[in-house]
């Protein structure tokens, strides 16, 4: 039997249930707004968004693996390509490109062509330290942790803060292979 071919991001995106883009954007905006009211500190909000993203990511990975049929990526380069081309397309409907590889191949940047979360958004002066899309960095970190990769994901460029693009830096810290969880004498 031929091995299952991984499906392209477009094919999967055409098949999953989609939600209205404005509803998505406005709901996310409402969440951030509420977090700002509840927590008041911009750093706290950033941390909370990352944590929420992490909780999403650990579940998202199973859906991603089930729907896209990708097999284990051979190295981190392939992982980054798969996230940019299949993952972002499948869940957000936008593609990203992978650039800025470092010499060891453990650190790269994902540049989003388009970001549906930030439509209609403008940051006021009181929230200048806010990473509005921090949930995305949490999602990537959580998902990669479930496939044995400990990573650090940060925003390098953010259009809401005046830069010209959305750039997410993904840095692989280490690969954690699974270990036999039971002690031998139990």
């Amino acid at each position: 039997m031929a091995p299952a071919v991984p499906r392209s991001g477009d094919a999967i995106f055409a098949n999953v249930e989609r939600v209205n883009a404005e509803l998505f954007t406005l709901t996310y905006g409402a969440i951030v707004r509420q977090l700002l009211t509840d927590l008041e500190e911009v750093d706290e909000v950033n941390k909370q968004l990352d944590q929420m993203g992490y909780n999403i990511g650990i579940r998202l990975i199973d859906e991603f693996l089930a729907k896209s049929n990708v097999t284990r990526c051979v190295d981190f380069r392939e992982t980054a390509e798969v996230i940019a081309k299949v993952g972002f397309k499948m869940f957000l409907g936008v593609t990203a490109s992978v650039t800025n590889w470092d010499t060891e191949g453990t650190c790269c940047s994902l540049i989003l062509d388009d970001n549906p979360l930030v439509d209609f958004v403008e940051l006021p002066d009181t929230c200048q330290g806010l990473y509005y899309c921090n949930i995305l960095s949490g999602v990537v970190r959580g998902a990669l942790e479930m496939v044995s990769m400990k990573t650090e994901v940060t925003w390098v460029r953010d259009m809401l803060r005046g830069d010209d693009a959305f750039e997410l830096q993904v840095k692989l810290l280490k690969q954690v292979p699974e270990e036999y969880p039971y002690k031998d004498d139990e």
């Binding site: 039997m1 299952a4 499906r7 098949n15 999953v16 249930e17 650990i58 579940r59 990975i61 199973d62 859906e63 693996l65 089930a66 729907k67 049929n69 990708v70 097999t71 284990r72 479930m146 496939v147 044995s148 690969q175 292979p177 699974e178 270990e179 036999y180 969880p181 039971y182 139990e186």
Partner: protein, 169 residues
């Protein structure tokens, strides 16, 4: 299938061919060895209590995976036997058959292991295991009230599983 909200799942479930349950048991483990689900449809002989049974099953698969990866004639670099591997790396074994049962196995890169024990004449169950993984995603992972890493207690998931397994050839 309509209950997935119109989205296409691959693969689509096979047409029910026989009545009665065709599978004996099913286990789902996560990467930490926690048995998320154990379903039993037809198991006349029970030798161990369930905790030991789960540990035995998990240990068996862990060792078998290690062994098959080590004996792989096509791969160039192999660690020593027992060296932890990343889930999905190296070659993974699919099934083994004895004269009384067949055990089929699938592991996702995220460490979710699905084991299905059926009668020995069952055909290749890779597609079925993939379908069960899709069911797991829809009914368990997407359930906000489910804590990942804990045993699954979802009536809906159990019922859908039972229905699906009933139709396996």
């Amino acid at each position: 299938m309509q209950f997935f909200g119109g989205s296409e799942i691959s693969p689509s479930p096979p047409v029910p061919t026989a009545s009665g349950n065709n599978a004996h048991m099913m286990y789902i483990f996560n990467r930490n060895g926690v048995c998320l689900l154990y379903r039993e449809w037809n198991r006349p002989l029970r030798t161990l209590d369930s905790n030991q049974d789960h540990k035995l099953m998990f240990g068996l698969l862990f060792s078998l995976k290690s062994l098959t990866a080590k004996m792989d004639p096509s791969s160039t670099e192999k660690g020593n036997l027992g060296v932890p591997q990343l889930p999905g790396q190296g070659c993974s074994f699919h099934s083994f058959r004895t004269n009384t049962y067949k055990l089929s196995f699938m592991e996702s890169p995220s460490g979710i292991k699905i084991i299905l024990v059926t009668h020995p004449n069952a055909s290749d169950l890779k597609e079925s295991l993939k379908y069960i993984y899709n069911l797991y995603v829809e009914y368990v992972v997407k359930n906000p009230l489910y804590t990942p890493g804990t045993p699954i207690r979802s009536e809906l998931f159990n019922t859908t599983l039972d229905q699906y397994v009933r139709g396996l050839g």
